[in-house]
Amino acid sequence: MKLNKLILDNFRNYNDLDITFDKDVVCFTGLNGQGKTNLIEAISVLGLLNSFRTNNYDEMKKFGEEYFFISGEFTDKNDNRLSIKISYSDKKKKVTFQDKKILKFSDFWGNIPIVYLIPDESVITTGPPLERRKFVDKLLSMIDREYFSLLKNYSKIIKQKNKILFDLKKENSFQTEMIDVYNDQIVLYGSKLFEKRVEFLKGFEKFFKDILIFISDGLFGGSISYSSEMDQKSYSSDLREKLSVNKRTEVYRGLSIIGPHKDDLIFDINGNDLRKYGSKGQHKLFLVALKLSEIKYIKSITDEYPVFLLDDLYSEIDEKKSAKIAKILDEDIQTFITTSNSGIIKQFDQNNTKIFNVINGAVNLV
């Protein structure tokens, strides 16, 4: 997937920007606070209809303006042109894809695959289990409709059950009829989610291992394993068992504590738990490898490379490693990079690279 043309109208600090891209590596340089990340954000919104910065479209509207409009023209691997337009005014979002209005955002997801790596995402390797589940859930929701709908139903079931548990705790009573109703569904949907996650990991880890070894110059071997309170050889029956045994505990806590919404991924580097023992550099490299694997995995499933957005990555990565990353991104993956140090772009194939300078909402070819 390639982005050929980007139009921004009242988006963040942009008035009216109309810019075309004809190279696979696009670099936005410039001082801080000029609007580099805003550009990456706009591209991600075109593909995901959500911003990695905020859930509130109002924040993306230029200060003091009434509306914003953004549009993108992409081409897929078969040279089909894909056009997406998003406008926002009066608190209303209007999205058209191929000039047809999108009524449900989830119907659109996956049409324009995007993978981004922004500094905030360091929580994937350093943060609580929730962040790693989000990583998997977001990726699978984008490429697997069934996973998305399983996850949506599962989350609803947990919310409903939580309300029951909360009420029972408040009333200091213990009735299980309603808990049973939701537990039955947790087993049904939960074991399917588990199966899909494990199947995903099997395919994903292959890419991951190779990439981590490659970008670390053979220094680091990594692995990813699924971690759960349930016995993974008999997940479904064990889940049923644990839900049944823990009913009182759950009522006491007023919260649903058993199920795949508590599962985690364990990241190992050279045989040690990255979260406990990893150095800062190892975390960074692990995260980069995760994202590069995401790109390869999406390609292996959908046969289309996503557009890759890299925000401020290179601030902490040395030239040798940047060269390695550039090598992986070489094959036909359109990559947008923001950096205040345009030197690192030397690592990329210069014939296929374009550098833009960003100054206060104006973008100019260097």
Binding site: S149, K152, N153, K156, I157, K159, Q160, K163, I164, D167, E177, M178, D180, V181, Y182, D184, Q185
Partner: protein, 197 residues
Amino acid sequence: MNSQSEILENLINNISKLPGIGKKSARRIAYHLINTSKDNALNTANSIIEARERLGLCIECFNLSEDKLCNICSDPLRNRDIILVIENFHDLYLFEKLKIHKGLYHVLGGLLSPLDGIGPGTLRLNELLNRIRMNNTSELIIGLNHSVEGDSTALYISNMLKDISIKITRLASGIPVGGEIEYTDEITLKQAFENRK
């Protein structure tokens, strides 16, 4: 008040309380009711009064009814051994239009959704249990949406009846996961009814 008339504002206000009608449409409808012939407008008003005064709920199945028993429950040709459980009057209307169900109905009045404050006590579940016990019903067809709320209600009903000997079936394939009966076309609904299991 900065309006043309307080009576008019009152009318608009009441119309805008109807589902799916905003202030703008309410104003349009109000103008229409005033511009149209007086007979037309009063007929509408009278229908509302008549519906509210004369329509109640059937004491057996909670369908709409002018009498204690609705047209379906008092029809001697309907099969009393089979009850089709549905969410609301509108679903009953859809099933009746298709003429595929020869038995009786039970209108629950909603689906279980603790988040919306709808628990078992809010729905007509005890009434269903009593009916099945009193009449020795032989088959219960669950005609609820395949959503989390529909599934939860179906599970609750099955658990509630587990000590009673009754055949329980559920409208099966056809209605897509997460699908609502209201949005299912007639052919799919017919298939879902025939393929129940």
